[in-house]
């Protein structure tokens, strides 16, 4: 009985904390228009899966009408934080901010699960350890992997099933990008521009070719590059799991590495990292020291997605295509973070439409979420697959040779979905295609 009272008291405390964002919750007029764009609702048609339902449940908790915190937490986790609802919301409700806040409060209340705790607090802050995992798994993969889709050259890793399910991957890298290159500090060339490069975990460890393409482009255009040693994760997995403590630790580690060198822009091939650094670091800047705040602000205004950098800053020229023979058909998938959070969607298309040797075809629902959502795909694998299937169907409907996107997390999901369906479509980052077809 005593325990129950104690629990009730802490629920009341949690409810009080939620009341702090009551203004934002009340802003939802319950019109339900989020149903039209929510990828999760699109699959399940359940009200608890759409933002209106989640916001009402949060309101109910704030006013202690709802008592089942576990039930609420389970439902809050069924969200990709893709921002589609926020973009479409007539009342301009900031759903991402609401859900990040709620997840943080609930994680503080319930505590973090053990696996996440290990990953967020002990693995993510140690890049050398992660590179070591890459090297080891890259070496021994031949023993464990199984061919999945011959055309696409993908593999399945039965030994990893408890963690990643039956996902299909490209062969694992034997050396991470950062292990290969170490600290980078090249001087500024003809462009007169110096960038700080933030590859992001996936282009550093799984799609090293994307980071290498970026380096090739910087070199070609005379852009000086600074990449510190020991960069850590941008913190988005921690934040979406509500683990604010470890998020803050990662941000501080990264800030420490960027304070030493001047740069004109901070560039990344990962849309998720860009949106996280630009928006989430900035959102919580008041929790940092004065010096750190200044750096967060500077980065907020200077960080840029790499396709945006190529088109809007470098203003790159394109090789004129001589022949229409052997054109490869390419379609483009809008990453949610890139289009909905950062508003970048014309730039990657401009690149793809102008590159020689490529024929561009717009797919239906190009900006509908692919279902990846970073860690969502691990914790909500079945849902992610169902959402991904719609994306896959849209991709193959335009019969492309290549599907391009500008987000490595989306690349993983697209590759898996296409491979699982036995398709033969190459998955590439826009900068890879640009690097292959740059004008002389």
């Amino acid at each position: 009985m005593k325990i129950k009272t104690k629990k009730n008291a802490s629920v009341t405390k949690l409810a009080k904390k939620l009341l702090a964002i009551d203004d934002q919750l009340t802003g939802c007029m319950h019109c339900g228009l989020c149903q039209a764009v929510c990828p999760v609702y699109g699959v399940t048609l359940k009200e608890t899966d759409v933002s209106r339902g989640k916001i009402v449940l949060l309101e109910n908790l704030a006013y202690e009408i709802l008592k089942d915190i576990d039930g609420l937490s389970e439902r809050l986790d069924r969200c990709l934080l893709c921002g589609s609802c926020q973009t479409n919301c007539p009342s301009g409700v900031n759903t991402i901010e609401i859900f990040l806040h709620a997840r943080r409060l609930i994680t503080e209340y319930k505590g973090l699960n053990r696996i996440k705790k290990i990953v967020f607090r002990f693995i993510l802050p140690h890049p050398k350890l992660m590179s070591f995992f890459v090297a080891v798994s890259g070496q021994v993969q031949r023993i464990f992997r199984r061919k999945a889709n011959e055309n696409m050259g993908t593999f399945e890793f039965p030994i990893l099933r408890p963690f990643v399910g039956k996902r299909h991957f490209q062969p694992l890298e034997t050396k991470s990008f950062s292990a290969k290159y170490g600290k980078i500090n090249t001087s500024t060339g003809k462009s007169g521009i110096k960038v700080a490069f933030f590859p992001g975990c996936v282009p550093d460890k799984l799609f090293v070719r994307v980071s290498q393409a970026a380096m090739k482009i910087f070199d070609k255009h005379g852009v000086g590059v600074f990449m510190p040693d020991n960069l850590v994760c941008c913190g988005i997995p921690n934040l979406v799991s509500g683990d604010y403590v470890s998020f803050k630790r990662l941000v501080k580690k990264n800030l420490d590495l960027f304070k030493e060198t001047e740069f004109d822009y901070l560039v990344s091939p990962c849309a998720t990292c860009v949106s996280s650094i630009k928006e989430n670091w900035f959102r919580f800047k008041n929790d940092f020291t004065a010096d750190e705040q200044m750096l967060i602000e500077k980065i907020h205004y200077r960080i840029m997605d790499i396709t945006e950098f190529l088109v809007d800053v470098l203003n790159v020229d394109f090789k004129v295509s001589e022949s229409k023979i052997n054109m490869r058909r390419v379609t483009y998938h809008d990453s949610c973070h890139l289009k909905k959070t950062l508003g970048v969607f014309t730039q990657p298309r401009k690149i793809l439409k102008n590159l020689s040797g490529l024929e561009f075809a717009e797919m239906p629902e190009a900006d509908r979420c692919c279902g990846s959502g970073g860690s969502f795909t691990l914790t909500q694998h079945k849902l992610a697959n169902k959402i991904g299937q719609r994306k896959r169907n849209n991709i193959v409907s335009v019969n492309p040779d290549i599907v391009a996107t500008a987000c490595p997390a989306c690349m993983l999901q697209l590759m898996d979905m296409l491979s699982q369906n036995g398709d033969n479509v190459e998955v590439k980052h826009v900068v890879e295609l640009y690097a292959e077809n740059m004008a002389d």
């Binding site: 009340t26 339900g32 039209a36 709802l66 039930g71 609420l72």
Partner: protein, 460 residues
């Protein structure tokens, strides 16, 4: 709820589609109306018509109040459960378009099909389904029929009732009733479809609808006319109709609404204006549409428009409509709570009604922006407030009552397209009379003797 009964529902639709947990049930306690929520006892999501029929029968046999729900986007509380022992039946998975017939111009659909998904599918077959309620991207066709939904195209193309050719529905015993047909003409039996239209879930539960399709217009032309006096805008509307031109859309934004849209979009709207009209004419012949548009512009000038901005191309037309599309978003962002009404008056009374609304706003010290369908007199006075402020919300409720009074005094109606639901049920007798209410009650009791179908809505 009794565990054995829950098991019986599970036996019909499966475990995954019966929602009993606190969180799931709470997510079906509200709709888009600003009203007190009611958490139901159980939520069931049938996947096919057989399951739907069995669910209805089981609930009815056991005396459970039944509320059928689609998107839950209505503005009258029509799908807020009646009581704590209610079962909510969801139509969302009954979302198949069964047939689109291009020769005979009809479609057969299940009630959970989303309106705009249907309209787009019809359009991809080269045909047109005109009803376009504001919530069309999420609203379901079943919901549209149950509330006789309207939209921007009402003036020329009519509303949902003009497109319902027939239907199948379950009665309270879970028996399937059929009415109407796939033909233009049909006089077989009572016009039960007409009775079910706008019945708000009080008479039976739809399982299939037959909807009329029409050929799409081939040309259209849009313009904006600016007025320094709202009466002149209204005269223009009357003049256009008197000239026998029926625009496909004829929308009005009042001064406050223009102000909020401009703050929100910075699109360069004339903020000093008293009202703007947005007019679009369409038809099958480019030349004829062009002539109609020219005549409309002449009439606008004649009636005293201070500025007329025709859209030269599709891009400009899109920008023009941007102002109307942004009316609700702009108003909704101004304050936490947005109460959207739809009192409707004969179109000649639009200036009187707007004057009344502004008087009521002043009296109760409230911000009310008005936009709406000037062509059919269907206005949307939108009250900006904060429902957490009890004192202010009491003033809002008083203002709503007075708005209804004003509409009825002008020979108007309580609701043009949002429905009666819970919100306006107590006003029904005032618009009609005691005999009408008694007749409706008798009808209702004959079809629903236990009074379980959406109790507390529509007719009290």
């Amino acid at each position: 709820m009794n565990l054995n009964l829950i098991k019986e529902f599970i036996a019909i639709v499966g475990k995954e589609l019966v929602f009993v947990s606190e969180a799931d049930r709470q997510a079906y306690s509200y709709d888009a109306a600003v009203l007190t929520p009611q958490i139901p006892a159980l939520v069931v999501m049938p996947e096919n018509q057989e399951q739907l029929g069995k669910t209805v029968r089981l609930a009815y046999e056991n005396g459970l109040p039944i509320t059928v729900r689609g998107a839950g986007s209505n503005l009258s509380g029509a799908v807020i459960p009646s009581s704590a022992d209610s079962v909510v039946i969801l139509t969302n998975r009954l979302n198949r378009i069964i047939e689109i017939n291009k020769e005979d111009l009809y479609a057969v659909v299940e009630p959970g099909v989303v309106t705009s998904v249907f309209a787009e599918t019809v359009s991809s077959h080269g045909l047109f389904y005109p009803p376009d309620p504001g919530s069309q991207t999420v609203s379901t066709l079943g919901g549209n029929v149950a509330l006789n939904a309207g939209g921007l195209r009402g003036l020329k193309y009519g509303v949902t009732k003009d497109y319902l050719m027939g239907m199948e529905f379950f009665d309270c015993n879970g028996e399937l009733v059929k009415t109407g047909s796939h033909t233009v003409k049909c006089v077989t039996g009572y016009n039960l479809g007409g009775m079910m239209l706008g019945s708000e879930g009080t008479l039976g539960i739809f399982s299939q609808l037959i909807l009329k399709l029409v050929p799409p217009p081939k040309a259209s032309k849009a313009m904006m006319a600016v007025y320094d006096d709202i009466a002149k805008a209204s005269e223009t509307v009357a003049a256009i109709i008197a000239a026998h031109i029926i625009p496909c859309t004829l929308e009005i934004l009042d001064k406050k609404c223009i102000k909020y849209v401009e703050i929100h979009t910075k699109a360069g709207l004339p903020v000093e204006a008293a009202a703007i009209l947005l007019i679009e004419v369409d038809g099958s012949h480019v030349q004829a549409v062009e002539e109609d548009a020219n005549e409309v512009m002449t009439l606008c000038t004649k009636c005293g428009a201070t500025d007329i901005r025709p859209a030269k191309d599709a891009d400009e037309k899109n920008k023009l409509w941007e102002a109307r599309r942004n009316a609700l978003p702009a108003l909704a962002r101004a304050r936490p709570t947005t109460v959207l009404e739809d009192a409707t008056v004969p179109r000649s009374k639009v200036p009187n009604m707007v004057a009344e609304i502004n008087r009521i706003a002043l009296k109760h010290n409230l911000e009310i922006g008005t936009f709406g369908h000037a062509g059919d007199g269907n206005l949307h006075p939108t009250i900006l407030c904060d429902r957490r402020n009890k004192e202010e919300f009491r003033r809002v409720e008083d203002a709503i009552d007075e708005i209804f009074d004003a509409a009825l005094n002008l020979k108007g109606t309580l609701s043009g397209e949002h429905g009666i639901g819970i919100a306006k049920a107590k006003w029904m007798e005032k618009e009609t009379n005691r005999a009408t209410i008694n007749f409706s009650k008798k009808l209702r009791l004959a079809l629903d003797p236990k009074y379980l179908f959406n109790a507390g809505k529509k007719i009290l």
